[in-house]
């Protein structure tokens, strides 16, 4: 697990495996509730100013901001 990086640095349309969500607050909890554990994630789109991402996770779509996404640590699937 040496090549861990935060998902906001990921590429579009590529699958990554979620390893961990960092931090300890309600945003982490919300992400875990939504299923950001033991699964793959893919970035589909970014908004015009590249601050909001549309990701595909566990069979549904989620709009999520760069700041939140930067807390999701992933590795190549």
């Amino acid at each position: 697990m040496d090549n861990l990086f935060s998902l906001d640095k990921g590429q579009k349309n590529k699958s990554y495996k979620i390893i961990k969500v960092t931090g300890d607050d309600k945003i982490k909890r919300r992400l875990l509730d939504l299923g950001f554990v033991n699964c793959n994630i893919k970035i589909l789109k970014t908004s015009a100013l590249r601050q909001v991402f549309l990701v595909e996770i566990r069979g549904f779509l989620l709009a999520i901001k760069r700041t939140e996404l930067s807390r999701v640590l992933v590795c190549n699937a």
Binding site: S6, D8, K20, V21, D24, K26, I27, K28, R29, R30, L31, L32, D33, L34, G35, V37, N38, C39, L44, K45, S47, A48, L49, Q51, V52, L54, E56, R58, G59, F60, L61, L62, A63, I64, K65, R66, T67, E68, S70
Partner: protein, 706 residues
Amino acid sequence: MRDIVLIGNPNVGKTTFYNFLTKSFEHTGNWHGVTVDKKQKKFNFEGKTFNIIDMPGVYSLSSFSFEEQVTINELLNKDSTILNICDANVLRRNLYLTVQLIEMGKTPILFLNFDKEIKNKGTIYDYDKLSKLLNLQIILNNKLVKTNLIDKINQNNKFSGTNMAYFDKLPICEILNILTKKQIGKFSFVKKEFIAIKILENDENIIKELKLSEQQEKKMKLVISRKDYVQYIAELRYNYIDEIITQVTIKSKSLIYGKYKIDNIILNKFFAIPILFILLFLIFFLTFSSLGAYLSDLLKNLIDVIIGVPIIKFLTYINAPIWIIDLFSNGIIAGVGGLFSFIPQIVILFLFLSLLEESGYMSRLAFLFEDVFYKFGLSGKSIFTILMSFGCTTSAVLTSRNIEDKNTKIKTAMISPYMSCSAKIPIYAVIGGAFFGKGNIFVIILLYVIGIIVGLVVANILSKTILKSDTNAFILEFPPYRIPKFKQILLVIYQNCKSFVIKVSTILLSFSIIVWVLQNFSFSFTYLPNDSSGESMLKTIGEAISVIFRPIGLDNWGIVVSLIVGVMAKEMVVGTMAIINGLPSGVNFDKTLGLSLITSGYIINFSPLTALIMMIFSLLYLPCISTIAVLKKEIGFKYTLIACVIQFFIAYFICFVIYQIAVGNIVSKIIISLLVIVGVLIIFITSYKLNKKGCIYDCKNCKKHC
């Protein structure tokens, strides 16, 4: 009577099912967080009565967001039957909540919504097996759902929810040993293991309720700090669910819920905004210009022929006293009757708003606007409140609860009155129609744009001063596109018509009568027919206040009174004008009233300039009394007061600038223009500077180290 609580993730169809069971018309929509508060109503079936309770949607049972707190309180303190509504399309995530209900010791009945939809797409689950594995009953959304539901409720005590195997992997006993029996006894309706899990998850509310001693706290911390239990417990739950899903899946097709090719165009960087503008123009065009105006005319003539003329004829025929005839023709028919003719336009506007809501497009808008709105101190989710405000601001303010950050929520609620609501349609139609004729639609669009821009600027200033946003979290699920159900749309229209008619025939009617009395009687209560020269109460009051409005060109006591009455309800602005101008009987409302407004002989009359100022001022000046009440409830007295003061000041300021530039002499024109330019520049520069200094995005993750 048994309580049945509807619990589930957001946008799984809880309120739709609630409406179906209880025959109610609660607001539904295809986006996340339509329901913001608990609602309950009776459900009668085959001689039995149940109390159905609809809850806001939640993803989990911790007590972090407002909705979750409402839900968890409902579950902690009561032993009621739980109907856990799940969207079969995203079963895994929905089961995450189910698993927590089981942890809690509850025995929910699983209601699998949209199961036909996934079957058609090619996914089949073995529901019998699922039911056995979880030791819970399952019902599907089919024709027999009511009968099935009653059966399952009666048999539910035979089920108990499975024992969670992963409990062994957690130091549950260790935590429970630290607690006293009395502390555990506080939560009599839940399993004690649940309390231990909540402590491991560091759930503040539960811990606060337990009132731990210092020593207990120390011991707890030792256990909790061993591991990242928040992450670990979530992993255990999802592992468990993944295992169950693998076991019950008979056939599966991996489709992504809410993913459509059309979004490549709708969310495209270049097409997204033009598409939105075309859509909005279409809505405005159909509402105000073509279809809406045509239907409105039709209804107007109908009301005139069926109600207006016969009443006056009848009253004259029976020789009613002149003041009674005047009260009816001038007070009631002119003040209120004419308002009915705006029903078509209001219906069309609400029709489009509900189409937007039901289709799934609104959440896409939130995604598109988050970037921009964030710069103004709002959230992408503010778009829900803003769009709903075009219908009715009073109910729209409630939707701001979906916004997690408190200050962002307050800002969103504070700017929602700047969005022109449907009650202002009569003002634009009558005044604008009289002065701008066919070009009025562009004036109306301009007014909507002014409202939006002013709202955004106010939000921006607020976030630079008294309401800085703390967090900028934005996590929003994309709903699927759905073709709006015809019946649902009809219901929305029926509901809005009904509430409009009720409002007009109760509140607005009584205000009309009050206004008529004040207009036609002096302070010594002598009746003053329209042609008399005496001073009516209304005139005396209006003239006293009108001085304030001289600098913006509205120093006419009639206008002032209309604006004041308008705070009660915006529809009454034109109603009051009709009463004051003492229109001849007959209701051809906007034409007659419009005509009187251009004619200088009437009490209230405008020049094109003052007409425009009147429209802008009415757009911005104050929210109506019911919105003020809701604002006070949602954001507190202080911010409601600030919101009202800012609104009035801005309306006054904008109108002052327009009026003075238009009518003042050259010197004042130049001075005021210069002042405005300097003011705007200052606002821009300061916000730009603040942006640079404060770095608009989260500093923690910024590489620039500014």
